[in-house]
Structures are given as structure tokens and as C-alpha cells.
């Protein structure tokens, strides 16, 4: 690692995240201001607000940096977004003092919040609007933990850029906007005026980014003048040159391509706080032409390219995810903002996409070992084994990256949803595991859905036993069910009811964002917002998908399986007895719990008894959600991923028929219940492959291996074969924790010794010591496979 990289990396890693009031102050200033801007249309006002922010925020260029630009006034300074959700003084205090993932908040910031920010935004934030408009049924379900709501604290984003910025400068985008404006038909299109306003807003946003880059050029020039070291002076002059050229114009070389993307990234995450920040996506594909040309012309070496990539990596690490409001001191969170860089996959014509940069990116990932950006490899059947092996070599280092995705499955998923073959091939996965048509799709995660909570409500005839409130349908006293089918019917009815409640809420929330918080800058970047004259949040994108993410597939399957096996097949447990035992959290009936744990079939062992029930649950959930229209001309779809919500969903859930005690986490992703898979990884792969992955927009499978399994070539080949087999069976994604339980237990006892221990949580990596104790325990518990 070069000295420059070592220093900057160290600074980025060791600087503690803190809250900066900069953005909140500037946005509030703008919104509270007077004059013509205040009477402008909403999109134009939003664009002007972004422009005001980028014109007035502090510009920062660190020693030794080549790629420049920070979201806040300095690295790790995290802005807030009061127009979405406004932190209270208590929130700020908790953020400042909580043990896990704290954000320092100084006195001055609190004062600013107390005097200016809170008074101005009270009652105006979109979060308050959302909760103000949700129905009683929605609130009951939300409070009971049936589902979560993604958009109450962060804006719709969940999207990835394609190759367009590498071909076009902002000035070219402006030409496209003008063209679109000219084609507006004010005589026949009743929406022409609305479109005109949106296009004007995009134009302002494009200018705002050019201006922002120019300010960096100015700052670099100024610094160059004062710089005594001639080498650094030259670098600063080069930075000024780069920032004067991009983003106004298309990039001319590798350096400019990276800098251009970085400005775009900052633009997106400054405009609002969209989910999963933003993401360059298929970086090896986008940068390869610049890389190749640079090497051919002798203007770039492999080492220089690697250095620039590493500097680019550090930029991501310095922008922690914006913190939530309304948190408790115990609630754990993450600094990871889920940018997920793709390497590998296929090209638009279907041929193998792996190139030298795909390998170089993996070298960078291995050397950087940062929690963000995340990285993944796309493996298609055309991907050479040598690339799979390279990925496995990095995986065995044990810091949870890269995760591994099946390109062929992703393409099938996207095609099934109606995307063109080229758009599907140019796509990939982002966030945790979500499949998307990069640069052309708005794919919004709207909330997690607690599949096991539905069963609990069925077993209590519509009542949530935790809150004692009637929140669901009365589907009958379960003791009266005479067959397993009757139970399944009741489950489906109950699930349909809550999905309806959720979708009704989604449709309202979607309109709130479309009307109140359009995102003209993001819209500029995603096809076909410019052509349509429509905002990203209002159906401007070519494809518009909403997801509801099912959680706890393992727990719900094992719970239903236990009931079928014990109550209806063997008939040695009565339904009444079971429900009472669940209410009592198995107190005084540990015997029954042990029977449920050990003497019933479980998902994850390639046993059709349990796996068929998994398929039934999948079909019920799929039928309830898939194909339901959203308000943007697109559809709702399902995916199966948990991030960390399986901990929360377990907390709101009493004891379950699979022998799980109240409050314990539910299973994560599509993985079996922690410890329920007893027949090794091949049986897990077989069970999980019985899910029809192609009808989802992503599934998440976690496997943990002890590092010694991958010590030699043979072990690495075996892991490669395991991946290939899972993908042959249409599996969507698999990720590996290569670490042993002993190490993790020791890390729990002595966190100070393991501050740099990265583990794969669920779709992303995080520092083990930053995780809640429950989550730590759960990671330890995930079956540690000792042999293949």
C-alpha cells in the first residue's frame, strides 16, 4: 500500500463520525428565505435548495488527496435532513452517548438545533406527514411489528448509475433537457406545465453540480499557490484541471471518470438522504475503456489506476450513513450506507464481462478492508473459474467481502419483471441483494414484512399477544382447525389483509414524496426521467418497482412444520396445549420445547417435509404482493432479505412453534433457522434452491465457514464448486463469514482487541464490536460448518 493511501485510509478509519449542522442550517436558511425562489414550483424550489447548499457549503481538500469532495465540511462529518425527519434534542443526546455506532454532537450543533432547526421544521417534515396520513390499521400493524416503513426516515433511492456519465457531461444532459422541453405539447398534454417545471429543476440541478465542482477547482488552485512542495503543487493543479472539466464535460481519462462519479455521488446524497446512498454499479465495465486507453497511450499505469481506485474507496468510507431519529440508546445501527460495487457479470451483448479491472478491483477490496463501499462479484455461467477463484481468495481473508451473485439468475429475474434483455444484462445487484436495471430503474424497498408475526396473530385469532390489541382479522380459534390446510388458509387470509394495509400505505407515501420532495438531481441521472419530464419519485424512471421484503422464512417454515408434524400428523400435541405453551414462553413446558426443537423436521436439511411448507409460504407471500400496482406505473414485487431487522422482528414476537423463545431473533434472509441446519452446506443449498428465486428481486443466503476450510487450493476449489452449484440451481446470492466461533466469542469478551474485525451481517459487512450483543450472539450461533 502506498504511503498516501495508508495515511488517508488511517485517517478515514480512525476519525469518529460526528453530526454537522451545515446542511440543516443551509437548507433551513433557504426554505425560510424570501424572494422569488419561494414562489417557484416545488421541483424548482428543491433544485434551488440543492444549488444553495452546494454554493455555500464548505469545500474540503485533504492532504494527499487526488479525488476530492465531501458531503459535509470534512470526512466523517454527517449532515442531517430535517425536511425528511428532524432530530429532537433527545435524539441528538442519544446519538452522542450511545455505545454502539455513536455520532458525536457538539454543544453548538445542539444549540443550532434548538434555536433554528427544530422550531422551523416542526410539523413540516415528511415523516410527520406520513404518520399523519396513515390509517389506524396501518399504525396498529406498524406498532405491533408486522411490518416496518422504509420511507419515514430516508428518501426513496435504492438505485444505481449506469454508464451514461462516462459518455456525457452535465452540459450534454442540459442539451437533452432543452430537447425535452422543446418537445412538450402544451396544447394536448395537460401535464406539460408540470413537466416543464420538473425539467427546469433538472437544469438548475445540473448547473448546481458544475458550480460545486468549480468551487473545488478554485480551492485547489488557491491551495496550489500556497503549496511549497512542488510535487503536491502539481497534483493540486491537476485536481483543479480535473474539476474544471468534469462534471461539466464527459471525462477524458480514468482519473476524471472517478472524480465525475464522485461529484455525482455527492450530489445525490446531498439532495436528499436516499436509501443505499448511491452506487456506481458496474465499475469494472464503466472504467475499462478509460483504463485500456490510458495503458495503451502510456498516460496511466496499473499502479496509478489502483491508487486512484483506493482513494475512491476511502471517499465512500468517509461518508457514514445518516443517523435515524427516534432511536433508543440500545438500538444498534450501522455506519454502512450500502453502496455495493459490482465486478464481473456479462456485457450488454451477453458475453463475459470480466476484464483486468475486475481483478484489480478485487485487489483494491482486499487491500482496503473498509466497511464501505461494499463489493460483490457477479458470476455467470460464462465467468472464468479464475475469477471465481480470485473472489474466493479475497473471501477467505474473512472480512465479509465480496459477496457473490448469480448474474444468470438476476437477468432472469429482471426479464420476468418485463425489462429488456440489454437493460437486464447491464444490471446487477445493489444495497443488500436487490436486483435492478442499473441507471433505468427506481426500485424502492418499502418495508420489511414479519412473516412469523402473521402466524402469531392467526394463533391468537386476530390479537397481537404482546400489545393485547386486536390488530388483524378474526380467522377463527385455532383449536377448531381440523386440518393443516385450515391453518394455512387462515394464514393466507391474515397475510393478505396485512399486505393490503401495507400497500395502501405505500401508495400514499409514494405520493407524498412525489408531491413534496421531488429529486430533480437524481432524476437527471436515471433514464427516462429527462425524456418523460417526470421525477424519479413520480414514475420518471423507465422501470418502477416497489418491494416488500419478507423476513424470517426459516422461522415461519419451521413453525408451520412443527404444527403440521406434531398437531396434525403425529397428533401428540394439542393445538390448545401448544398455544398455551407459547403464551407462557415454554415456562413449565421445556419438554415440549425440546421436542419441537429436536424432533421435528426443519428447513435447511433438504427434507421435503419442511421444504414443501417453505414453498407454500413463498407462494402465499408471492401471490399477495407480486403484480400489485404502485402509483408510478410499476408494480410491487417480493424479495427476501433482512438487513438487521430479524433481530427487531424477533423482539416483537412471542415464543414460536419451532421452539424459539420469545424475543429471540427470527431467521435471516432465506437462511435456515440458526442451528437448525444439521446436514451441512450442501443440504442447505438444496433446501434454499427450492425457493423460486427467479420470481423474487433478490434473496440472501448466509454461510459461515471456519478459515481452515479454505486454507489450501482444494478447499478453495470446493467453495467455488459450492457457489457454482448453488447458481446452477438458480440461487440469487450467497455470502460467507470465514471466521471461527471461538474467535467471535473472544471478540465479545475482549472487544478492544478486535476493533477491526469485520463480519458479514446480512448483505453487508460491519465491525463485529459495533453490533448489538444479540446480533453478535446470532452470528456466533449461525451454524459453523466444520466440513463440506
Amino acid at each position: 500500500m502506498k504511503d498516501r493511501i495508508r495515511k488517508l485510509r488511517e485517517r478515514s478509519v480512525s476519525t469518529k463520525p460526528y453530526i454537522t449542522p451545515e446542511r440543516a442550517v443551509l437548507i433551513t436558511e433557504f426554505c425560510a428565505g424570501e424572494g422569488a425562489s419561494q414562489s417557484a414550483s416545488t421541483p424548482v424550489k428543491r433544485a434551488l435548495a440543492l444549488k444553495y447548499l452546494l454554493e455555500h457549503k464548505q469545500i474540503f481538500i485533504d492532504d494527499g488527496e487526488l479525488i476530492v469532495g465531501e458531503r459535509g465540511p470534512a470526512p466523517k462529518a454527517v449532515p442531517t435532513y430535517p425536511e425528511i425527519c428532524c432530530h429532537s434534542l433527545q435524539d441528538l443526546e442519544i446519538l452522542n452517548s450511545r455505545k454502539k455506532t455513536p455520532f458525536a454532537v457538539d454543544k453548538e450543533t445542539r444549540k443550532i438545533y434548538e434555536d433554528n432547526i427544530i422550531p422551523f421544521w416542526k410539523g413540516k417534515s415528511i415523516r410527520e406527514m406520513i404518520f399523519g396520513q396513515m390509517s389506524k390499521e396501518w399504525k396498529l400493524a406498524y406498532e405491533a411489528g408486522v411490518f416496518t416503513e422504509f420511507l419515514e426516515q430516508r428518501a426513496p433511492g435504492h438505485t444505481v448509475l449506469d454508464d451514461k456519465i462516462y459518455r456525457k457531461g452535465m452540459l450534454d444532459f442540459k442539451k437533452d433537457i432543452k430537447k425535452s422541453m422543446r418537445s412538450l405539447d402544451f396544447l394536448n398534454d395537460p401535464e406539460a406545465l408540470k413537466k416543464m417545471e420538473e425539467l427546469k429543476a433538472m437544469e438548475i440541478a445540473a448547473d448546481a453540480l458544475i458550480r460545486y465542482a468549480e468551487r473545488h477547482a478554485g480551492k485547489a488552485r488557491e491551495m496550489a499557490k500556497k503549496e511549497k512542495d512542488p510535487t503536491r503543487r502539481k497534483e493540486l493543479e491537476k485536481i483543479a484541471d480535473v474539476c474544471s472539466h468534469v462534471p461539466a464535460n464527459a471525462p477524458r481519462d480514468f482519473w476524471e471518470a472517478l472524480q465525475y462519479y464522485w461529484f455525482v455521488h455527492l450530489g445525490v446524497i446531498s439532495e436528499l438522504n436516499p436509501w443505499d446512498s448511491f452506487n456506481p454499479g458496474r465499475l469494472d465495465q464503466h472504467l475499462y475503456p478509460f483504463y485500456k486507453r490510458g495503458l495503451e497511450q502510456g498516460t496511466l499505469t496499473k499502479e496509478e489506476a489502483k491508487e486512484l481506485l483506493e482513494l475512491f474507496w476511502i471517499k465512500f468510507n468517509s461518508q457514514p450513513a445518516p443517523p435515524k431519529v427516534g432511536v433508543t440508546a440500545e438500538e444498534s445501527s450501522t455506519y454502512n450506507d450500502f453502496a455495493l460495487i459490482n465486478a464481473g457479470g456479462v456485457k450488454a451483448d451477453g458475453s463475459d464481462g470480466v476484464n483486468e479491472l475486475s481483478y484489480l478491483i478485487l485487489d483494491v477490496v482486499e487491500e482496503m478492508r473498509l466497511i464501505q463501499p461494499g463489493s460483490m462479484v457477479q458470476i455467470s455461467k460464462k465467468t472464468p473459474d479464475s475469477f471465481v477463484k480470485k473472489a474466493v481468495e479475497v473471501i477467505r481473508e474473512g472480512f465479509g467481502q465480496p459477496s457473490v451473485f448469480n448474474t444468470d439468475a438476476i437477468i432472469q429475474e429482471l426479464l420476468r419483471q418485463g425489462k429488456s434483455i440489454e437493460d437486464a444484462r447491464n444490471g446487477g445487484a445493489s444495497g443488500c441483494v436487490e436486483a435492478g436495471a442499473f441507471g433505468k430503474e427506481s426500485y424502492i424497498l418499502t418495508g420489511y414484512f414479519n412473516l412469523t408475526k402473521i402466524l402469531e396473530i392467526v394463533l391468537n385469532n386476530g390479537v397481537d399477544p404482546r400489545t393485547k390489541r386486536k390488530i388483524g382479522l378474526e380467522t377463527g380459534d385455532p383449536s377448531d382447525f381440523s386440518s393443516f390446510d385450515e391453518l394455512i388458509n387462515a394464514y393466507e387470509k391474515q397475510l393478505n389483509y396485512f399486505v393490503d394495509v401495507k400497500i395502501k400505505g405505500n401508495n400514499i407515501i409514494e405520493r407524498l414524496y412525489a408531491e413534496h420532495l421531488p429529486t430533480p438531481f437524481l432524476s437527471l441521472l436515471i433514464s427516462d426521467c429527462v425524456q418523460k419530464g417526470k421525477d424519479y419519485s413520480d414514475g420518471g424512471a423507465r422501470y418502477n418497482t416497489n418491494y416488500i421484503q419478507g423476513v424470517g422464512l426459516g422461522t415461519i417454515t419451521d413453525s408451520l412444520t412443527a404444527i403440521k408434524h406434531k398437531v396434525f400428523d403425529e397428533k401428540n400435541v394439542r393445538m390448545k396445549e401448544l398455544v398455551n405453551a407459547l403464551h407462557a414462553n415454554f415456562d413449565a413446558n421445556e419438554n415440549l420445547r425440546q421436542v419441537l426443537l429436536n424432533k421435528t423436521p426443519k428447513y435447511g436439511n433438504d427434507d421435503d417435509y419442511a421444504d414443501d411448507i417453505m414453498r407454500t409460504v413463498f407462494e402465499i407471500y408471492y401471490r399477495a404482493v407480486d403484480g400489485r400496482p404502485n402509483t408510478k406505473g410499476g408494480y410491487h414485487r417480493i424479495n427476501l432479505l433482512p438487513t438487521t431487522v430479524h433481530v427487531y422482528f424477533g423482539k416483537v414476537l412471542g415464543a414460536t412453534p419451532d421452539g424459539r423463545k420469545a424475543g429471540e431473533p427470527v431467521s435471516e434472509g432465506v437462511s435456515p433457522v440458526q442451528g437448525a441446519d444439521r446436514k451441512g452446506p450442501t443440504a442447505v443449498i438444496k433446501s434454499v434452491s427450492k425457493i423460486d428465486h427467479v420470481r423474487t428481486g433478490g434473496t440472501l443466503l448466509n454461510q459461515k465457514f471456519a478459515p481452515e476450510l479454505l486454507e489450501d487450493e482444494q478447499g478453495m476449489d470446493k467453495l467455488g464448486h459450492l457457489i457454482r452449484t448453488y447458481f446452477k440451481l438458480d440461487g440469487h446470492h450467497i455470502q460467507f463469514n470465514v471466521i471461527n466461533a471461538e474467535t467471535l466469542r473472544d471478540a465479545q469478551k475482549h472487544p478492544e482487541k478486535y476493533t477491526d474485525l469485520l463480519v458479514r451481517v446480512a448483505g453487508y459487512s460491519d465491525y463485529f464490536v459495533d453490533l448489538s450483543t444479540e446480533l453478535q450472539n446470532e452470528i456466533i450461533k449461525r451454524t459453523e460448518h466444520k466440513s463440506f
Binding site: N591, Q594, D606, I685, K686, G715, H721, R724
Partner: protein, 225 residues
């Protein structure tokens, strides 16, 4: 709680009644067609890795009829077969199965008949005879050599074993270092483990034996995987 093993007739009811799986019945009676179904579950992995089924034990040659049915079933399904055996079986048994196996993983514990008798209770003559039969048959063989400190790891035995393999045209040798994983199993079976004091051979020792065999001209790997 203690178990009176004299009364045990392997009915397994105690394990069934034990809710927490503190008692488990290891192994079960199964028919060949049942086993083939189980094997078929993993075919997709064999296809990818070029692997197949390994029959091991106990000693698979102790159940020749069952084994033969399974081998034929696998052959019908084009599944590759390895047989892990100690070679101590009647010659007729070996003849029955020798053409249905793709790879023999053949234990040669010690070339010294006295030592062999002392530690296994039988002579190694039949084992060596069966080995030769397989060689004559043209079977592919990989020698498995358990490295047991103080028993098989002396220089003379290492050289003799290596030379024996080579002289029969067998080049593959896997060195299996003695491990202590059996201690816990014996304990839970209420059996006395007579080598409790014996430690696993050191990495250096394993490396030394490996190099010795390599200089003889063998392909050697440590571990059986």
C-alpha cells in the same frame, strides 16, 4: 444417569423419548433404494465438482450384498464411486465389487505383520493379497497411510510402505495424521479409549514423512480430503 448397555437391543426408543437429543441413536437400518435416493440428492454437486460417492465405514466390505446393490445403483446413474476400505475381506468379496468401483482408498497401516497383528488383531497378509488382486485387475488405487506415533511412523515402515506402493505401480498416497476426535465418542459410548495418552503427530513430523515419500517418487498429500 447411567445406561445399562447390556440390556440395549438397539431399539432406539430411549433416544426417541429424549426430547433434547442428549441420547441419540447413531446410524440406522436402510434399504439400498432408500440410500440411493439420499445419494441422488447430491448429484448436482458431483456434476459440478467432478466428485462422487465415497463408501466408507466401518468397513463397507463387511456388507457385500448391500454394497453391491448400491454400487450397481450408482453405476446405473453414472455416479463415480470411491471405496474406502481396510482391505481385510474375503477375496471373493473383492472380486465381486472390483469392477464396479472407480477408485479404491486403500488403507495400508503397517507392512510389519507382527505390528499389524498386535494392533489390529489380524495378519496383514490378506490385505496385501487383496491389494495385489486389485492391481492386477487394473483398479485405480490411492494408498491411505495412517500416521500413528510409535506404531506406524517409524522410518522403516514409511520406506517399506512407500516402496510397496511404488513396486505395484501405485503413486498416490494420503497421509492421515492420527487424531484424537475419537476420545469423546468413546466416552459417550461408555467405552475405554486405550490411546488417550497418545498425541497427534506434529506438523514437522508429517512434513518429514511426506518428503521422505516424495523422494521415493510418490505423489503425497497430507489429509484424506
Amino acid at each position: 444417569m447411567s445406561i445399562n448397555r447390556k440390556l440395549c437391543n438397539l431399539c432406539g426408543k430411549c433416544a426417541l423419548a429424549c426430547p433434547s437429543d442428549a441420547l441419540v441413536l447413531v446410524g440406522r437400518a436402510a434399504r439400498a433404494d432408500e440410500m440411493l435416493k439420499e445419494i441422488e440428492k447430491d448429484v448436482t454437486f458431483y456434476d459440478e465438482s467432478g466428485g462422487g460417492v465415497t463408501f466408507s465405514g466401518g468397513e463397507p466390505l463387511m456388507q457385500p450384498d448391500f454394497l453391491e446393490a448400491l454400487l450397481e445403483g450408482c453405476k446405473e446413474r453414472n455416479i463415480r464411486i470411491a471405496l474406502d476400505t481396510c482391505g481385510y475381506a474375503p477375496c471373493e468379496t473383492v472380486d465381486r465389487i472390483k469392477d464396479k468401483v472407480d477408485l479404491f482408498l486403500y488403507d495400508i497401516k503397517t507392512m510389519d505383520d507382527g505390528t499389524h497383528r498386535k494392533y489390529t488383531g489380524v495378519s496383514n497378509k490378506l490385505i496385501i493379497q487383496n491389494f495385489k488382486r486389485l492391481v492386477e485387475n487394473g483398479s485405480i488405487i490411492s494408498v491411505r497411510f495412517p500416521v500413528i506415533p510409535g506404531v506406524t511412523d517409524n522410518a522403516e515402515n514409511v520406506t517399506r510402505t512407500g516402496e510397496f506402493a511404488l513396486s505395484h505401480g501405485v503413486k498416490q498416497v494420503c497421509l492421515l495424521p492420527y487424531h484424537r476426535a475419537g476420545i469423546e465418542k468413546y466416552r459417550s459410548l461408555d467405552k475405554t479409549y486405550r490411546l488417550e495418552h497418545l498425541q497427534s503427530p506434529s506438523d514437522e513430523k508429517m512434513q518429514m514423512i511426506k518428503e521422505k515419500l516424495i523422494t521415493l517418487g510418490l505423489d503425497v498429500r497430507i489429509g484424506g480430503g
